[in-house]
Assembly symmetry: C2
Homo-oligomer: 413 residues x 2
């Protein structure tokens, strides 16, 4: 089956993307707006999460309850999520219910009531979400790592700060909505059994008269990443680390992904073999590539009992450093097989495709075709990975640990 | 597209199921063996998890490393998991790689090496897995609830007991494998773009000469469910409760599922509305139906800050009890819309279908067709749900809480 991807930019700047998947009955809708946690103003950390929750509490002609009823009646599985840069409104339903669902999404995005009398329960939920992190050390260590590794405001987490959340007013919420929600910079993607022309016409009707706004800027603060141990009387020690890697637009992007796969991409990957299988040091160990538009990073995580935490860190960091000594043809063969399988799984899921075409456009300003991704995977070689590692050596690691005792970063010999 | 499901029982009792999905390129393999945690002998709790891990450490002609390499080379995403009753071996890959993957699965299931020298790291990992539960109160409260609610041995958790795991010998592992792994009672299912006749022939070749064994019995102990508060200095209080409901084979099964959906099946569901939206009591609250062959249950979970925990319990239990006063036509309409959407999402996923046909066979001895499930959903009425709740009243709740202070079960007025 040939891939059918459509794209249209409205006069006001809103980007519409669609992937037609003829053999399914479902469809997924994905709306990205650059209104993530990085846009929370100083002293208002947690605002994006409160905005996202309040936006679904009544919009257009429907109050909070009527909006929930309308989406349930359409069988829509939905979710709002707040990333560092983008806020995401997602829904999945039957393809035939896409037009009715888009009508509701347009209300939520353009005509939310942001009701004063629901601010308090929304703040209470945001505080709960923040507090629950204290009982989830595995998540907490990653939040604390990103806080110390990325420059401000990319390092801001959606959960914010308790005192800031408590002090929020409905005007803060309404101002933030007015400042950030606009068609330019936003991306609407739909994947599933949908027809392009009627979809485009509906989106023009629903969003065509949305007035563009000023692009919100995200001024980065110069910063030095900071390693730190956070004391907590937990059973296990949580280990998280990060260091610079190629960004998604770079020619080094696929070699960087391949390096992450050699480390952590399958049963026979290096971290899995050395940390988990051979030594039984810990159950959860992984490394992965993470990207913003202008910067990429390699991150790694391990959680283990306190007595074996130093050994776990030593072995993990040793494997990261050992990468630059070379990777084998066999390893690259396995990386290719794994990435190809993942690509084909993604091709079969409306949610995965709606997400992928939107993030491709956000990062690259275009949608990568399956053929392009396939060719890039086929073109991977050990030399390309080693060349990449020469340009992005494993150096300047930021290490954050959480647990009963601090660890020592092993020396680089 | 018409549904194409095939079934064949080998002479030795192994059940083979396949669902052909012509429009995909992937396939999923799912092998269920009645060798779950409930079969762990007294004093050997945790054995099933150790058996599952050791089984993938070398099988047939391949040692541990060669086995990992072979699966990675095929791009197989795989996982072993230990449920209460069944152990599950799962793999997902390209449809064209199914034959080669099945060859390897046959080695793992029939010819595992269970190597003595890898027992120690496997034990270490099992201990880690158990210990990590102490830092994950949300998971821990569910384990502790099931331990007190279900009769022995259905109440046994895969993570076992530390002293038992430490004392395990390779003979324990080999005896358990020899006792439980057999074709009769096991179910192999495949869903994806596969051809039935070649698949059947291959499975006959790989498993036809596997000798049937004696059916392992699971003698249930009479027990009284026990409510309890577990003290822990966490930020949040975890609340978990359970009470009897209809089992999957019962005519009351779909009304029981509908009752769970009215409580917890969408944005406008009762628990979501009353606990989360209106009062902001907690972010995570849900109720769901859970089944064994001979018994069903309704379970509910909420996690909230200690000061609001009693109110959260009161409101949650109040909603569970209020169900029997009746449900509305509108609520049942929304339940139908939600269940139909879920059914269609499931139809499009090879992993979901491979899992569904195997569990259908395990529970019912047949595969439910989409038409049958659809008709049952269409047939739901408020009267059927209320009639069901008359036969399964909300009574005899088992409550387990975990946090800084105990709670009081609200009186039933």
């Amino acid at each position: 089956m040939g891939q059918q991807v459509f794209q249209h930019t409205l006069a006001n700047g809103l980007v519409l993307l669609a992937e037609r998947m003829e053999h399914v009955r479902s469809a997924a809708i994905n709306f990205l707006v650059p209104a993530g946690a990085a846009y929370d103003p100083p002293g208002r950390l947690g605002l994006a999460s409160v905005v996202a929750d309040l936006m679904t509490r009544g919009a257009g002609d429907r109050d909070s309850r009527q909006l929930a009823l309308a989406l349930d009646n359409l069988g829509v599985d939905r979710d709002e999520s707040v990333g560092a840069v983008n806020m995401r409104f997602w829904g999945s339903t039957l393809a035939r219910n896409v037009p009715a669902t888009l009508d509701i999404f347009a209300d939520v995005l353009r005509r939310p009531h942001l009701p004063d009398d629901e601010l308090e329960p929304v703040q209470a939920l945001a505080l709960q979400d923040l507090q629950s992190l204290e009982d989830a050390p595995q998540q907490k260590v990653m939040v604390e790592l990103r806080r110390r590794y990325y420059p401000r405001p990319l390092n801001q987490d959606r959960r914010g700060v308790a005192e800031h959340i408590e002090a929020l007013t409905i005007d803060d919420v309404r101002d933030q909505y007015a400042r950030l929600f606009r068609p330019n910079g936003s991306i609407l993607s739909v994947a599933g059994n949908v027809e392009w022309e009627p979809l485009k016409a509906q989106v023009e009707r629903l969003f065509g008269d949305w007035k563009p706004g000023e692009d919100a800027t995200l001024p980065l603060t110069a910063s030095t990443p900071l390693s730190e141990h956070l004391h907590k009387d937990t059973q296990q020690t949580q280990i998280a680390l990060a260091y610079p890697a190629a960004a998604i637009g770079s020619p080094d992007y696929y070699p960087a992904r391949a390096a992450a796969s050699v480390l952590s991409g399958g049963m026979a990957s290096r971290l899995f073999t050395e940390v988990r299988e051979k030594r039984g040091l810990c159950y959860s160990v992984s490394a992965w590539h993470e990207t913003f538009k202008d910067r990429g990073s390699m991150l790694a995580y391990a959680g283990t009992r306190a007595e074996r935490a130093q050994e776990t860190l030593d072995v993990t960091v040793g494997e990261l450093r050992r990468l630059s000594l070379g990777v084998t043809d066999d390893e690259i063969d396995r990386v290719r097989a794994g990435l190809k399988s993942s690509l084909i799984m993604q091709e079969e899921s409306t949610s995965a495709r709606a997400g992928a075409i939107a993030t491709d456009w956000y990062y690259l300003g275009r949608v990568r075709s399956f053929d392009e991704v396939q060719a890039a995977i086929d073109g991977l070689t050990p030399a390309a990975v080693v060349g990449y590692l020469g340009r992005y050596p494993v150096r300047g690691m930021t290490l954050v640990t959480l647990g009963p005792a601090p660890l020592t970063m092993p020396e680089d010999r």
